[in-house]
Symmetry: C2
Subunit: 337 residues, 2 copies
Amino acid sequence: MKIILVGFGVIGKGVLKVINLKKNHLLEKYGLDLSVVAICDSSGAAINKEGLDLELALKIKEETGKIASYPEFGQNIGIIEVIESVPADIVIEVSPTNIHTGEPAKSYMLKAFETKKHVVSANKGPLALFFKEITGVAKEHGVILRYEASVGGATPIINLAKETLAGNRVKSIKGILNGTTNYILTKMEKEQLDFNTVLKEAQELGIAETNPHQDISGLDTAAKLAILANSIMGREVTINDVVLEGITRITPESLLMANKGGYAIKLIGEVTDKKLEVCPKLVPIDHPLNVKGSLNVAMFNTDLANDIVVVGTGAGDVETASAILSDILNIHQSLKK
Amino acid sequence: MKIILVGFGVIGKGVLKVINLKKNHLLEKYGLDLSVVAICDSSGAAINKEGLDLELALKIKEETGKIASYPEFGQNIGIIEVIESVPADIVIEVSPTNIHTGEPAKSYMLKAFETKKHVVSANKGPLALFFKEITGVAKEHGVILRYEASVGGATPIINLAKETLAGNRVKSIKGILNGTTNYILTKMEKEQLDFNTVLKEAQELGIAETNPHQDISGLDTAAKLAILANSIMGREVTINDVVLEGITRITPESLLMANKGGYAIKLIGEVTDKKLEVCPKLVPIDHPLNVKGSLNVAMFNTDLANDIVVVGTGAGDVETASAILSDILNIHQSLKK
């Protein structure tokens, strides 16, 4: 199976590390022979139809910041042109996310579909904005689109609901879908510190981004919630339909008061047939949704299986690559039969 | 897809209820046309190659206790003979479990494989004792065996680890796999009551069985743990290899002491490459494994995705049937491609 990797930041590097680590295992256990034939970043691409040397690619990126510096096979070329011209089975789309336009990731996906390539993506932007259009185009061209990594990092949320709980109707989903805000609230609660102090510390530790707006405003959670609403519950919504309130106004005093009453305050995304909202909510202390630190969690209320809760790591290079790998394996299994 | 239902107790009835409820949905959403051509219990069977009336079957069973009383198509016939002689795609094996011999369920499974029928089972006995033999025979005959419902009821544990986390190596599994003992411990802790008082109450409520030995001794958890060890971690063990301690010696005082130190005491099944044990363990109060009431939980420690935890309902007719239905749908999807 030939892979084009689009995007060579933290997640892209994680994907290469994981493929490198698992190459033999995948061949032996699943009969899957993975070969990365192109790697793209904003500098250009390295392209080799015989398969690139992944360790070398990681080394070149580390040293020069540019995959175009890859010896012999590196070149200055646009990503769309790579997707169009390089024969491959799957495009792994992990370019930077834009939750306002979905671009350029959306164009990469559509170009992949047009040229009959399956897509595995970790990109929230296009899916939170143009879910129906994008899945429609994939279907039209008879190719598979999978996107487990776009919500919850390593935590299997989308595939769990769609496949492992197949046959159930999911009536609602509630979850903590952003690790940064969960880390901040947990720390504020535990150490009785105010929001700005903890945010600053989280930024210094690299847990929160320099521009934390998307996390703390709830926008990141809203993007993920829109994806869950569309993919699992069959709703037709975008991030712009989500009723939104962030965590910036939460005080250590309110966390303490809630605690004394047997509750934690968490930034919860919730979708039902009628509701689509992200806001701070009280969660009973002994409830499975009350997870600590930067963990993510999703709870499905279903018609047959009652409530099912899944908890896991919401971010990280190798962790997110784990979700991407399971999507690749699922495509491989689908095609084998 | 033609189904033979073997076993018409609580779970068997749940399966028919769910098939009846979801018939149209399965056809519309998945293109799956399910028809139950035989239902067996210890009295005999109802057999109709055109498909049985499920509501009528449930009514007859309710009123007479015997499926053989089904009008026109009911008959006195052995289960093995039904499996052998009735053409069908899938045998749903939900006959009473025997964790000492695995019989007669094991013979039902093997007969199904020999006659080229796929099997979906909720039966712990055969799988906790003869995992390698049974999966080997299924493979030899080119048919599929699935058994999500054998561990954790509605909670997707086996399929989650094997499919949704595909590509990961599961390094250890820890879990609460028995709802009855979790209910008892939760109640003892909360209300500071002793073991026998809570057990008696649980029996009156129908949460614990009249003979609670398998639950409170940890044997039921051990059977499930052996299945997880074999199916997810590739170990070759049986229930007899599990180091075992039950919950009968736990006192409300020990639960209170643990609580004051920030812990709960839970009956934990744990498997690693070296360990295979069921015993009461301390779990930090704010840990995702600390689930209350009769909930089940499993935590996978993996090489890529870190820790993934899944929580759900461990018992119930419709809940267990949910896991069976997802297995049927997965077989249907596999065969379609």
